[in-house]
């Protein structure tokens, strides 16, 4: 993969960090606005950033999931295009139906902002193949990160190796310690932790970088 795009919604606040992470790895990165009606033709990868799109009105991610550009993102993903949603981006992907389940309010009702240790539950995907260790440290910053799905979906996630990351110590009540999941085809990844905030040793470590490097390798 060579060309990426970051979508900004009203209320996105991690779009610049994500752009910097992509600039460090991809050859070319577009900045897209939610009102755009077309995706650039040459993109291989779309990243949906964290933040509080539309003030988290109604439900986190629900309004953004129905915006003009998201219907193009759905088509892109349905045709096998690679899509990553981080934090609010994960919430948007579940609301858009690109990933199963939903992100509920944290079980202790607090906004949590800290570095957590994740277990890489699947390191054979296009998103995670460059990770050569079992555990990584990545920051989380969310109020609604408590992953929920029904028993049937949970079994499917496990049977199909769709769980990408798990918390070592569950901070928010997520079912089965889930921090990030793939869709069935593994071309869509949603995760609550912020890999784009861990791409420099000076600020927060480098454990997020292999995720972006995985995408550009091969």
């Amino acid at each position: 993969m060579k060309t990426a795009a970051v979508i900004t919604f009203p209320g996105s606040n991690c779009d610049r960090d994500l752009f910097e992470a992509l600039k460090k790895t991809f050859k070319k990165t577009y900045k897209l606005w939610h009102k755009d009606t077309e995706l650039p033709k040459d993109i291989d990868f779309i990243a949906i950033p964290g933040g509080f799109s539309y003030g988290d009105y109604l439900r986190s991610g629900s309004i953004a999931a129905n915006s003009a550009l998201m219907s193009e993102v759905k088509k892109f993903a349905d045709n096998g295009g690679y899509v990553l949603g981080i934090c609010n981006g994960f919430q948007i992907l579940t609301e858009a139906g690109l990933l199963p389940g939903v992100l509920l309010r944290n079980n202790k009702l607090k906004f949590i902002s800290k570095k957590v240790t994740l277990e890489i539950a699947n390191n054979s995907s296009r998103f995670t193949s460059n990770y050569n260790k079992k555990h990584i440290d990545i920051p989380i910053a969310h109020h609604d990160g408590n992953y929920f799905c029904n028993d049937e979906t949970l079994k499917e996630l496990e049977d199909n190796n769709q769980i990408a990351f798990k918390y070592l110590e569950n901070p928010n009540g997520s079912r089965n310690d889930i921090a990030g999941i793939f869709n069935k085809n593994k071309n869509v990844l949603g995760m609550m932790p912020h890999p784009e905030r861990a791409i420099d040793e000076l600020i927060g470590g480098c454990d997020g970088l292999p995720l972006f490097q995985s995408l550009i390798s091969n």
Binding site: L58, R59, V102, R105, L109, N146, C149, N150, G173
Partner: protein
């Protein structure tokens, strides 16, 4: 016409906000509260007088946006 819509969590879905409200009621010494669930209430004003068309519109609105049917149920009534 007006639609009155209630969206509530399905049973079995963790409701930390409802639990916190129950805890608070307990702390106030209000007796006999067994459980609390928190939901949402919407009022939507519609043009026209066709009730069955209004029901269709509201059904579609609930399914696509107002409720996330993974975790929520909805019910509504149309008032003429």
């Amino acid at each position: 016409m007006k639609a009155k819509i209630h969206v509530t969590l399905k049973s079995g879905v963790l409701d930390p906000q409802g639990n916190a409200i129950k805890q608070s009621l307990d702390n106030l010494g209000i007796p006999s509260v067994l459980s609390v669930t928190q939901g949402k209430y919407f009022e939507i004003t519609l043009e026209g007088n066709d009730k069955s068309k209004a029901e269709e519109t509201i059904e579609e609105s609930c399914k696509t946006l107002l409720a996330n049917t993974v975790i929520e149920n909805y019910k509504f009534e149309i008032i003429e």
